[in-house]
């Protein structure tokens, strides 16, 4: 990946894969109400994809300088499996950890790319993923950690 378009295409593809992952999991989900939650997650990923498409088309700009709050909730949670009887809590853990992994990937990529323009784009993508992580961590904070 040597050009901005290549990097953005990769990021867009990642968002599509995430949406497909939740949609497929929704088909398998057994617990009451979980299908809708997972479909909502898929919609959220598609909204991320749209945002990146808008960046690629020049209609939206990434904001690499923006500070994003890191609640660090997912950093200390165990890995969970995407089983058919997945619970709300585990679905959120999976979502948080996926966003965290994407954030770390882009952060590492940015650190190893000498081209300053590319570095700025990738850092912008990392910030996007940090925002997505914050979204799911806030959901976890509000819905799972209510009494804690």
């Amino acid at each position: 990946m040597n050009t901005v378009d290549e990097i953005l295409d990769y990021a867009i593809e990642q968002e599509q894969q995430a949406a497909d992952f939740y949609a497929e999991l929704a088909l398998r989900a057994e617990k009451a109400g979980m299908k809708q939650v997972l479909l909502d997650f898929a919609d959220e990923e598609m909204s991320h994809k749209k945002r990146l498409l808008a960046v690629k088309n020049g209609k939206h700009e990434l904001t690499p300088e923006e500070e994003v709050l890191d609640l660090k909730i997912s950093d200390y949670l165990v890995e969970v499996d995407a089983t058919d009887d997945i619970s709300y809590q585990d679905a959120l853990i999976i979502a948080m950890k996926r966003e965290r992994a994407a954030y770390e990937l882009y952060t590492d990529m940015a650190a190893n790319i000498p081209d300053s323009h590319l570095k700025e784009v990738i850092t912008g993508l990392a910030k996007e993923e940090a925002k997505h992580k914050l979204f799911f961590e806030s959901e976890y904070d509000d819905r799972v950690l209510m009494d804690n």
């Binding site: 057994e30 617990k31 609640l71 009494d147 804690n148």
Partner: protein, 597 residues
Amino acid sequence: MSLKDLLSPFFVWQRAFEKPWTNMRPIEERPGAPAYRGFHINLADSCIGCGSCHSICQNEAIDMVPVEEFSGRPGDSGLRPRFDYGRCCWCALCVDICTANSLHMSNEYTWLARDPTDYHFTAGVEEKPWQDSELGYHRAEGYHLYPPKRIDMDMLTADESVQSFDEVVNGYSEEQAKLEADRCVECGICVATCPAHMDVPDYIRSIRDGDFETGLQLMYRTNPFPATCGRICTHRCEEVCPVGITGQPIAIRWLKRFIVDQVDSIDYARILDSEIIENGHKVAVIGAGPGGLSAAYYLRKKGYSVTVYESQETGGGMLRYGVPSYRLPDDALDKDIDYIISVGVDIRYNTIIGKDVMFEDLLGEYDAIFLSTGLSVPSSMRINGEDHPRVLSGLQVLADVARGKDPGIGRKVAVIGGGNVAMDAARVSRRLGADVDILYRRRISEMPADPEEIKESQEEKCNLVEKAIPVEIMDTGSKKQVTIKWGEAEMVQDPKGGRPRPVLQEDRMHTETYDCIISAIGQGSNLDFITPAVQEQLAIEWGKFTPGEYQRSELEKIFVGGDVANRTADAISAIEDGHHAARGIDRFLKPGAYAEN
């Protein structure tokens, strides 16, 4: 006629051009004395429309009228006083009784208007020149027509209470209850706020009248758990009690308890008129908690044959297995449940739906089903090492104690969480002889537990550690101990608004070893007993039902309520859900009876 008489009008006319001897306004306008009882001023924003002014007015000069801009405010009737100056005698009793201290009088006393109806006005809402006057009659500071301080409740001291599971609150004597009841201004703001809309002013009046049987009848109209709610209700009624604005709110919960404690359960059937006319319909209730048994009671009173399916060995749900006996003794809960059973409610204990009885069979067998299965599954912390055998669930500890079993907590305990289950797990641990740390992620002021639970847990020497985030559970090599690693949090404002969020400070970690760790970070529902085909037709969000009118689900014969279907997750809301669903089921099964409505 003489010539003088003939000419006199002309002599009078000549004076018409002279300077008059009279004044247009006969006296100089003088201001009223500084504390004069002149025209009324109402600080309408502070007023909550309690109507005490209306009730006390001996001349019936005050009406309470709806004012659009105040409609729907919590703890506010949306009404404001409208004065009739054709009746007012400016005695100022209305000012003296005003619970919100929003009503005053200006020292203005002249007001000219041609239309007599102008002298009817809604103070503070209709603009008047004297509204901002600082002079005039104000109630003297510290002066109250009713005692502002509530009658103290006799309670065990914290040192005494941790010695046993005896009830902490001893209850009012008759003399104390009557004195406390005397403070009520009968405004009824509490009725609107109570989820069950209990007739608080009237049952408090029954105490003043010494007529406890009427009090009991009034309570059972909307709540078949008065002995329970008289002890552990979240008492939102007291939060809006107008007497609490300038003093302490009426002890509504303790007065409810007083009434129930005065009536022997053997007299309930006579007092509450247990005659039931069978209507031939059958309803199943799943869950014998407050929601399920409330629905069962009101359905039975309407003549339904009601069968309650309960997975545990006795009824009460979280009231039995989640609320310790020092707050709610078994005999008080049993008093409520025994009467519900006595009207003919059939409870099948130790029966698990989906295992012992299939849900689809109930759907076929009964005319309607009410689901109220509560939140019985403890949430997991999902941190490393959580499956350590010395990590216990708060719900399990409380259930063990309720069953008389030793939960085996040891002598040094950490409780994780800030809700009522966490507070009760901590207080139970103190009674079992343990030293207790409560670790909570946020600040004490943000704890979801009842404020009095937090206060009493601190008085009982539970050590509350705020802004403490658990990150790992570690084995100590001993089967009797476990170590927890937790980090300090900083509260950070969420850029999107809402309450501040705790952020772990990774450079400020702590480790501590305990005999056990009790996890009480919340609980969720278990709806696995509902067949997938039925589940797909029900609206379920994050493990909770989203009921429609009369607690009805998307399936016409299924109604839902209690913690699994509301946000408040307290007993009184579950009780109201059950009552509401009973009315809904009655409308569903007997539509002809409601045709005119």
